[in-house]
Subunit: 205 residues, 2 copies
DNA sequence: CACCTAATCGGACTGAGGTCCGTTTAGTAG
DNA sequence: CTACTAAACGGACCTCAGTCCGATTAGGTG
């Protein structure tokens, strides 16, 4: 119960023992391979541990949960995505009006969902979902854009509400069960954001 | 794998054997009591089976899954809710303009979430979530109201998107983790619907 | 009442996520 | 090189949802 002790380390730590670093790498490598080969849904944590040549205890001490492991495997893409959001070209990156950036953000997230559906479903299971670093970054990004576009709205709440429309569960349901094409989901997002967020008042081009 | 065989029965069936009916009742009764005493999160399916004096196989044949059991326990409330939606007083029932009805619908759902948080979380876990009768009814209701209010929009998609804002996971996160008061969530819903759905064009009072 | 059969029962079993704790080892100090 | 300690290891173990299948029984038939 002591939170300062035995926390899983998702990222390399300078003061990390050599064997720990080696095992983290092995695990990530094995997980990436297995997820890729069989699809994330068909890979158990035991499978990962065995493929990595590591005990189950080690696996869980490193990554804490299945969801965290999936998130860690995705973290490279995620880093690229965050880079594009923060420093990339408009409309995803800075420079475009906030509403356009929000739309681009959602479209990009939907592309990511399309490309890594199973992994994202795995990463978004359980209550951990809302506290993972990636989700936190997404929420902050949306939050700031909302504040910029509409200083009077309840941006804190609206950010989470809008992000709910981009959840992996919902995506799977719409895409696979209800067979909606990706473009339709993107259109839906555009409409949702357009109606929810006011357009920039600075000359609309 | 034969779908016509061994399907769980959520509702009483005329051609149901006496012992089956008795056990279904026992299970529902025990589940209600246990969920109430300890909170749904602290009750395992084994607990329910034991308290009902019934084998685990029976429990699962009757209700199919934990989520379904939780939904069944909620079904009384749900029946009342559906009644109020379909035949009740406006603005929840028919008579009010669709946008007002949508707002009232969300507020009522948020009240239900507030009152039965844990049970609804249990009922909404897993992919079953989108196929449960209750959710289907909610979606259909929202869908029809959306079509009425805005015949040109992609109501199918928008219905699911709006409902995502009323999901139990999100509710728990906002309410408990981020400590937002219920009224704030209702305000958020009102704003979301107001901006997303056009007002009725028939004289606005 | 005796029999028959199909529906039902129930608990042993599986598989998966997650925890525990005795054992091993990396890194350091002497 | 040896001794020491904190960290890391790993697999046995736990809990829990969900499945399977042989035993049981409801309820119709003669």
């Amino acid at each position: 119960m002591n939170a300062s002790f035995d926390l899983p380390q998702f990222e390399p730590d300078a003061s990390e023992r050599a064997d720990a670093a080696r095992n983290r790498e092995r695990i990530l490598c094995a997980a990436r391979r297995l997820f890729d080969e069989r699809g994330a849904g068909c890979v158990s944590m035991d499978d990962v541990a065995e493929a990595a040549g590591v005990g189950k205890g080690t696996l869980f001490r490193r990554f804490g949960s299945r969801a965290s492991l999936a998130a860690a495997v995705l973290s490279e893409r995620e880093r690229g995505f965050q880079e594009a959001i923060i420093r990339g070209e408009p409309p995803l990156g800075p420079g475009a009006p906030p509403r356009e950036r929000l739309i681009a953000f959602g479209e990009a997230l939907l592309d990511t969902l399309e490309a890594h559906t199973e992994l994202l479903v795995a990463a978004e299971t359980g209550p951990v979902r809302y506290t993972h670093p990636a989700h936190t970054v997404h929420r902050l990004h949306v939050l700031l854009l909302l504040r910029e576009a509409d200083p009077d709205c309840d941006a804190e709440l609206l950010a989470d509400t809008l992000l709910a429309a981009l959840g992996a569960d919902l995506f799977v349901h719409l895409r696979r069960l209800r067979n909606m094409p990706l473009e339709r989901l993107k259109d839906g997002w555009r409409v949702l954001v357009s109606r929810t967020v006011p357009a920039d008042e600075r000359l609309p081009a």
